[in-house]
């Protein structure tokens, strides 16, 4: 898994790439929680994530809950069918705000 963090138009954007599994989710957790700590508007860009398992989902839930607890906004960018499938199995498609791309996420109502 690779990652990249940048700031754009008041958003912190964390881009994750590759597979988020038991081996890589601790790295994803560290990046996301560090970014949540310094951000009130967070986009988690998973457009190029090709696989996620329950350990990766747990990481997303933890980051989401930490962001919400401090009154922040958090949204997700998801494209890969396998990733969307796992979010749906966890019923997080009804909890997370999910967009098709960063542009639409930035212009969406909070």
């Amino acid at each position: 898994m690779e990652h990249h963090v940048r700031e754009e138009q008041g958003y912190h954007i964390v881009t994750l790439t590759g597979e988020i599994d038991l081996e890589t989710s601790p790295q994803a957790r560290q990046i996301l929680l560090e970014t949540v700590a310094q951000s009130t508007k967070l986009l988690i860009d998973m457009a190029t994530v090709t696989y996620i398992d329950s350990s990766g989902i747990a990481t997303l839930v933890e980051a989401f809950q930490r962001a919400k607890k401090k009154g922040g906004q958090v949204a997700f960018i998801c494209l890969n069918h396998a990733v969307v499938r796992v979010l749906t199995l966890a019923r997080l498609d009804k909890v997370f705000t999910i967009h098709a791309d960063i542009e639409s996420a930035m212009h969406a109502e909070p």
Binding site: E23, D53, S54, A58, T59, H81, R85, V86, A90
Partner: protein, 145 residues
Amino acid sequence: MSQQMHLPHESVILEHQFPARAKEFGHTRAMTRMVLNNHGWRSDKVEDIVLAIDEACQNIIRHAYQGECDNPITLRIEREGDALVVVLEDQAPAVSPDCMNPRALDDIRPGGLGCHFIRQVMDTVSIGPSPTGQGNILRMVKSMH
């Protein structure tokens, strides 16, 4: 421990043994995808089976071996009629079948989703002690249709 990969007798389409370590999972997923794709399985079903195997291996590490170790996990995938049978064996002390019970999803919190995913994507799931007297055998079945 070195990895072993076999392509043995007719109904068995993959047999793979690997140490109970998370770093082995990526290779196991890639190999499973390749073999199932080559056998003509639809990609969405392949991804479901890959997810179930991955989650089951995590459970073996967490609940059977109580952590990562060099003890083996053996994955075997067989064709049985129009279904695929996935068998995962470990050499850990016997675990309670209750370890395969999913938690309620109403409570949004991190963790505990692996068994839910397995039950959702596979048609039948059963776990029991190995007939050799050492280890556990998890059997998961998914229909091709």
